[in-house]
Subunit: 143 residues, 2 copies
């Protein structure tokens, strides 16, 4: 079988010439933080999403609400991803962290491959990483 | 700025016609499972990698050793990813789970969008999910 050949812009070896694609900030909007649904019916994940949407969105980022990031024991959770970059999943986020989440997202969007230098990361960024996943190796060998 | 247009094969709306790309099984080969480096210098992550490499590799899967998946508190960790599919990160994996990890990887590779039906997942698969991340929304709106 012949795999479709990706545009050079998406192949890591052509990274330096690649136009930078938008980063996605995934927000788990169903997170209950391990607690029963509050009386008002608005779960923490929904509150987190609203709090983030109320802030100014930095350039190069789009928000994507997700029904479940399966990080329930470490909620609320968000993830940052972009084709050709590392994906970061962050847990233990509260609605009060909205502004800091967007700072983290801006740093991610500005980074070359999704890896923000350690010294530039906030405590929230450093301590709350649940996992990170490498970019897909979209090279000639895998296509 | 004009973003490069992806081949239809990578756009989710054309999913049904898409040739299925290879799934990647990422293995965190530096994991120490929170313990000091053993006397023989071979950390659990390295043992897990070797144990998996000693098994027959199911079709449609490639193995990619990773220096760190940043899931240290839930090691050993592996991840399953494929362009256009959900990515799953699994923790609490031991070298003894090698065969079961490959069963999980085979089920993942056979699934349409990376989501294996719950009833078909082993206990290891069900209980050890650290996080999952949606496929990148590579649509006209984001390109």
């Amino acid at each position: 079988m012949v795999w479709p050949r990706l545009p050079a812009a998406l192949v890591p070896s052509a990274r330096s010439e690649r136009p930078r694609m938008e980063a996605t900030l995934y927000i788990c909007q169903t997170c209950r933080m391990g607690a029963p649904v509050p009386d008002d019916g608005i779960v923490p994940g929904e509150r987190l999403l609203s709090a983030i949407q109320a802030e100014a969105l930095p350039q190069g980022i789009r928000i994507e609400p997700v029904a479940c990031l399966s990080a329930c024991s470490k909620g609320c959770a968000v993830a940052l991803g972009r084709p050709g970059s590392w994906t970061y999943v962050q847990g233990g986020i509260t609605p009060e962290d909205a502004a800091e989440v967007l700072t983290m997202a801006r740093q991610y969007a500005e980074s070359a491959e999704g890896v923000v230098p350690w010294r530039e990361r906030s405590a929230l960024f450093r301590k709350n990483t649940i996992a990170r996943i490498p970019p897909f190796a979209l090279t000639k060998d895998t296509l």
